[in-house]
Symmetry: C2
Subunit: 146 residues, 2 copies
DNA sequence: TATTGTTATACTCTATAACTATA
DNA sequence: TATAGTTATAGAGTATAACAATA
């Protein structure tokens, strides 16, 4: 059986479709927490310590105005605090609150549930290989800093 | 080294991010043709023969109104024709024109270029395994009909 | 009454550009 | 002048719902 000459047989197409689906399902799981997928990468980064807003923007891969929006929403949930940097008063240092830390823990748990559903059709060894390959590509293309 | 407890180490997150990137790059490549990614799955389906609009909608996974929009744009490019079904005059049978066939050929070629760039960081065997795994998941979840 | 396709409308996500306050 | 953050606005992309023609 030769490789099928079809769009559905390209990595890019499958990645796009599956990514969209993974995101949608994740959004459904997050909804009860009052969160959407875009909040999660920010919570993740902040769990490593405070960040300035432009730093978050660059790390997450969105523009400054989007970060303002995301942080407004996280602040509304008492998940983060904006603290004016005393050394450079233009800056806000964003830090996680205890509520934020708990939310982050939950987003991680939901992400793992999401993976279980997504990977239920393939065996664990293949799933592990997939995770490794995706991680490799993401690192190589600078998508994640690792 | 234990599995890292981080969002960046989940399949769902990586799939979402990489899918978004793959789509964006593909969109850049398609732009000179006057096409966007959403047109491609429709061209692909039509290359197998005429379809009614609701059939396309279901197969591609979008709503009827979106299909109308996509077909309007493809018709504008002379890539498709709407032919009233004589057996059931509510229906339009959508068929590819010679121009559409040529465009479809080009979208496929660009998709392969896109894959090459995306997969340049990993070796061919790993890339083949990735394609197979993604295809398996997509088929199992009913994302593609195969 | 139900179905095919169409239109009008609204919502989400993101980007760009103009603005402020600091540096 | 340049930078951090904010606001206003606009552009994709999609969905929902009301509608016309046909079954």
């Amino acid at each position: 059986m030769a490789a099928e000459e079809s769009l559905t047989n390209t990595v890019g197409f499958l990645l796009g479709k599956l990514g969209q689906r993974a995101n949608g399902r994740y959004a459904d799981r997050l909804a009860p927490l009052g969160l959407r997928p875009r909040h999660c990468a920010v919570l993740e980064l902040l769990s490593g310590g405070p960040h300035a807003q432009l730093g978050l923007a660059k790390a997450v891969g969105v523009t400054a105005s989007v970060v303002v929006d995301i942080l407004d929403e996280l602040e509304e949930l008492d998940a983060v605090r904006r603290v004016r940097d005393t050394a450079d008063r233009r800056r806000q240092l964003i830090e996680l609150t205890p509520t934020g830390r708990e939310l982050r823990r939950q987003t991680l748990s939901l992400a793992r549930q999401n993976d279980q559903e997504l990977l239920s059709a393939i065996d664990p060894a293949e799933a592990a290989a997939l995770l490794q390959t995706l991680g490799r590509i993401a690192t190589a293309t600078g998508l994640i800093t690792k």
